[in-house]
């Protein structure tokens, strides 16, 4: 024990029997991290922190919430009015869901821009997509709990999607509902599952981090770290940088929580659920809008539906397309076979990346609009482009794109740059902090 690396005898004693301190030392302090990570790399740890915030506020909310159709709406209002700081806890949880998606979407697009999904990080990326799917399920389940009009009708629309599955579809929907419409059994099981999913999420996040620590972070240049000169210990360099990023995030986040808490919400959800009154315009939360647009763009007369119209109903095609829009991310590491990771050295890919972002925003706008011309046509074009990007453009770029020469090491451009802040010196728009 005398040769322990820990001076504190209690720490040394514990570590000899349960190596938690060695583990932290290894994964946090010594963990070598590329020294050129920019601020886009803050969003991973930020997402982890939001997950913790969501779990903590969620557990407190569950202490006061009643999962029954007759009491759910009023129990939420009781939290808002009579529970000490209940309004704060609920508004943090409510806006936290939106913040979680903003942060995770940025995290995903950062991975796309800098090619973080490429070998040897394919499983890391796949676990990330699984996290996204789990998050989406959790968010959907949670949105039903306040039992407002949008909760009820959103649940009705989304669960009904499964009825498009041939033969077993209707049975699956009945199973999901626990009856023949969205009702009390549905609310009860959604509450149960909404409480379960975040812990599943934690498990996948741990795997995500294990996979990350196997080969370490990618970096804005996208080349492997070659020597100790290229890396710095995670602590204190990135812990302090992440803390600063967290501070900036919290300022924005609490700006919404305290001054515009219902900015991301739908007014209709402050009307108690009523199965007899359909809202004039059913929309999901903003983070689902692009997927909702893809779902709705498969109408019976849609050009994108024609090639498969002999095979399935338009509704099933829409449902499959919506799921496929995420499933395609699973195979992205193999669709993109360009050997160069970072978009900094891929002039064409960089432009198509931004087109994809614009496409996703257009899909989001279309998802918020009532069905009909011109939105349906715009959504159809945007949906077609979304899949074109992943299935045609990305593989073709691997063949035809002329990439720029890569630096030999991470330190090289830094040393050449002659000091100054390493990445900000020749920053392109994407890399600016």
């Amino acid at each position: 024990m005398s040769d322990s690396k820990f001076k504190n005898p209690i720490v040394a004693w514990i570590d000899y029997r349960l190596p938690v301190f060695s583990f932290m030392e290894h994964e946090l302090h010594e963990y070598p991290t590329p020294k050129n990570l920019n601020y886009w790399w803050n969003f991973g740890s930020l997402a982890g922190i939001i997950l913790v915030i969501m779990i903590v506020t969620g557990i407190v909310l569950a202490m006061h919430y009643t999962a029954h159709t007759a009491f759910a709406f009023d129990s939420v209002e009781r939290i808002m009015r009579d529970v000490n700081y209940g309004w704060l806890i609920r508004y943090i949880h409510m806006n936290g869901a939106s913040a979680f998606f903003i942060v995770v979407y940025i995290h995903i697009f950062r991975g796309m821009y800098f090619g973080s999904y490429k070998s040897p990080r394919e499983i890391l990326w796949i676990l990330g997509v699984v996290i996204l799917l789990t998050m989406m399920a959790t968010a959907f389940l949670g949105y039903v709990l306040p039992w407002g009009q949008m909760s009820f009708w959103g649940a009705t629309v989304i669960t009904n999607l499964f009825s498009a599955i041939p033969i077993v579809g209707d049975s699956i929907v009945t199973l999901l509902w626990g009856g023949f419409s969205v009702d009390n059994p549905t609310l009860n099981r959604f509450f149960s599952l909404h409480y379960l999913m975040p812990f599943v999420l934690v498990g996948i996040v741990v795997l995500h981090i294990v996979a990350l620590h196997q080969h370490g972070s990618n970096n804005p240049i996208g080349i492997d770290t070659k020597s100790p000169q290229d890396t710095i210990p995670f602590h204190p360099y990135y812990t302090v940088k992440d803390m600063f990023g967290l501070g900036v995030f919290l300022i924005l986040f609490f700006g919404f929580v305290f001054f515009a808490p219902n900015f991301f919400g739908e007014p209709d959800n402050y009307i108690e659920a009523n199965p007899l009154v359909t809202p004039p315009h059913i929309v999901p939360e903003w983070y689902f809008l692009p997927f909702y647009a893809i779902l709705r763009s498969f109408t019976a007369d849609a050009v994108i539906y024609l090639p498969i119209s002999w095979l399935m109903s338009a509704k099933l095609a829409g449902v499959l397309a919506m799921f496929a829009s995420i499933m395609v991310l699973f195979i992205l590491p193999w669709l993109d076979h360009s050997p160069v990771r970072s978009a900094r050295f891929r002039p064409l890919y960089k432009q198509f990346f931004w087109l994809l972002i614009i496409d996703c925003i257009i899909l989001g706008i279309c998802g918020a609009k009532p069905a009909g011309a011109p939105w349906t046509y715009i959504a159809q074009a945007a949906t077609a482009y979304y899949f074109l990007h992943f299935i045609v453009i990305i593989p073709l770029l691997g063949f035809f794109e002329k990439t720029k020469p890569l630096p030999t090491s991470i330190s090289e451009p830094v040393l050449k740059g002659g000091g100054g802040s390493s990445s900000a010196a020749n920053a392109k728009p994407m890399e600016e902090a």
């Binding site: 209002e77 302090v240 919290l250 300022i251 001054f259 209709d268 706008i365 939105w375």
Partner: protein, 255 residues
């Protein structure tokens, strides 16, 4: 290539934006924005307006509309004294029971009671209102697009129906209501209430007051929320500034 892609992007986004404005223009008019005492970062509810607004609710709206999430004790938050609120509550009758004989009985309301509803159930409310259900007003400013702006516009938006517009039996024309046909007859009339503080009870004034009252009913935490928010944001600004300094210092030896 780059220029081409950018121009495509610009054309598409312009198309999206222009068509969305075209969509917004229907026959329902967007409620004009008003100045409210409670809007903005530091806004608080004007106490006088809140109390007048309660009077309007109590004397006019409460004939048909409930505010079921409010309790009489909540009125102490808008500047009424406990004695005043007890008096207000005692003027209302609530059904309580069963008593030791197993009978339900009527008693005057107490501070802890929720606001008494005008109708015992939905069916009674519809039967008393030409088939239309007067919605609960507690969350009204949060439950409508436009919030308080919409509410004020609606209350003051009754007009003669334009020629050619046919209204169903018992319906009124309102500029701001979806479809322009509203079952609620114009609720406010000049001098409809007599304000204790001698404020002139114009339709506009009563509408502003009751809207302020209902905005408070929907968000009773608003003042507390904004006060706390200012402190939290100030704290975070300082903390984040300091963290930036620490970050610079820790990273200094690398640059």
């Amino acid at each position: 290539m780059r220029k081409y892609l950018i121009s495509v992007a610009v054309v598409v986004s312009v198309a999206v934006v222009t068509s969305s404005t075209v969509m917004a223009a229907g026959d329902v008019v967007k409620p004009p924005k008003q100045e409210w005492s409670f809007s903005g970062l530091f806004g608080t509810f004007d106490r006088g307006s809140l109390q007048r607004g309660f009077q309007v609710y109590d004397e006019v709206c409460s004939a048909c509309h409930s505010v079921r999430l409010l309790a009489y004790r909540n009125l102490m938050d808008i500047g009424f004294t406990e004695e005043q609120v007890k008096k207000i509550a005692a003027a209302k009758e609530v059904t309580d029971g069963p008593n030791d004989e197993g009978e339900m009985f009527q008693r005057p309301a107490r501070l802890s009671d929720r606001f008494v509803k005008p109708f015992p159930n939905k069916q009674a409310a519809r039967a008393g209102n030409n088939g239309a259900f007067p919605p609960d007003l507690t969350l009204m400013t949060k439950a409508r697009v436009g919030g308080a702006h919409y509410l004020h516009a609606l209350l003051t938006g009754y007009k003669e129906a334009p020629k050619g517009k046919k209204l169903a039996e018992g319906m009124s024309y309102n500029l701001y209501f979806a479809g322009n046909q509203i079952a609620m007859p114009p609720p406010l009339s000049e001098g409809g209430v007599e304000y204790a503080d001698k404020t002139k009870a114009t339709v506009d004034q009563m509408s502003r007051d009751v809207t302020t009252f209902l905005a408070w009913a929907a968000e009773p935490e608003l003042e507390w929320r904004k006060r706390l928010g200012v402190k939290v944001i100030l704290f975070l600004l300082i903390l984040t500034g300091m963290l930036y300094g620490v970050k610079r210092k820790v990273w200094a030896d690398l640059h």
